[in-house]
Subunit: 210 residues, 2 copies
């Protein structure tokens, strides 16, 4: 039915494209996708990168699992299918933000490899930066910033990633960060340096998108 209906759609090619927008704000849009267990440090690192880049005058936006789940995805639960749809929508929204020229940070557990691969496909080659935020399970359980591991032990939370739901580690992430070894400030530095090295913090060169 949905597919049937879509044959009446005529996507518009705006005369103002990504390249124009990136020149206006002097940076290149991208999706910085942080994946890892609850308590691994994804949100903390995302906020640190946001701070560092904003101070340097860049337009950055964090799509955060918790915030998104209170709005766009407030109809979804944490079952495998709810999680899959959660990540699918986030991937679409992140791609729109990056297309707008925004440096877009995404901080979700996003446990399934296939779902992250789908998100990657939604944005042009080279503009998806997968970051594996890693800490040993024991460390995550000690940190337990949302008290979810404790609740899971008591049976108050279902589908807890790493406990009774799987986490599939990235095969070839652009960056891996071990948050036992690196502080949030050091982790943010690694990411910002990656962005610098790969030309995201300046406007596109002439002809770059052609």
């Amino acid at each position: 039915m949905a597919n049937e209906s879509r044959k009446n759609l005529t996507p518009h090619d705006g005369t103002i494209d990504r390249h124009v927008r990136e020149n206006i704000i002097g940076q290149k849009g991208c999706v910085i996708w942080l994946t890892g267990l609850s308590g691994s440090g994804k949100s903390t690192i995302a906020r640190e990168v946001e701070k560092k880049l904003s101070e340097a005058g860049h337009l950055v936006y964090v799509l955060d699992g918790d915030n998104i789940r209170c709005g766009l995805n407030n109809d979804l639960g944490f079952s495998p299918s709810g999680r899959r749809e959660n990540i699918r929508r986030i991937g679409e929204v992140a791609a729109l933000f990056a297309d707008a020229g925004v440096i877009t940070l995404v901080a979700f557990i996003s446990p399934y490899r296939n779902d992250r691969a789908s998100a990657r496909k939604k944005t042009p080659k080279g503009t998806f930066i997968e970051i594996h935020v890693f800490a040993p399970m024991e460390t995550c359980m000690e940190r337990d910033p949302k008290g979810l591991y404790k609740k899971s032990k008591k049976g108050e939370v279902e589908y807890m990633t790493g406990i009774d739901a799987p986490y599939q580690e990235p095969d070839k992430p652009e960056i891996s960060i071990h948050t036992q070894n690196e502080t949030p400030v050091q982790s943010a530095k690694i990411i910002v340096e990656y962005l610098e090295r790969n030309g995201f913090l300046c406007p596109p060169a002439v002809g770059e998108h052609e």
Copy 2:
């Protein structure tokens, strides 16, 4: 289930807020919501505003019914419930874009008054600009840019707004545009002047958001 699960969410207050982002890009984020029949001229006007503002160095992004339906909302049909969910998600995404500081144009039929009212509530007071794009039904049917009215006559399209699905006109839109009287360029000028007059095209004044 979804509500039950959400009690474990802890929304983050980023230290970088909307105000900071707006200062970085020198404008105020807003949602410019164009509503009207198919063929009334919403997308054409949106693209014209985008062009005019981009040329002046502003960061603008168009969320377009057709584009969004190919991505984020490709699971939804055109039944009343599909349309409602379509507009709900768009309202959430538009609010995120405006929160990022982007001047966000939304071009959808969005036929239901309640759905538009819900979208308005998602973004701070004064930052939602509802625009009724109007042309008489006969004019829309003559223009028929997507051939949908013809298809509807042949019974090939269901739920065609204005034919076999309702369109609820806005009660108090911020702007009304009659596209029989105004060209797309004139219509865009009306919108850009509204944005200028209401301070959206410069950074927020000190203390404005406090």
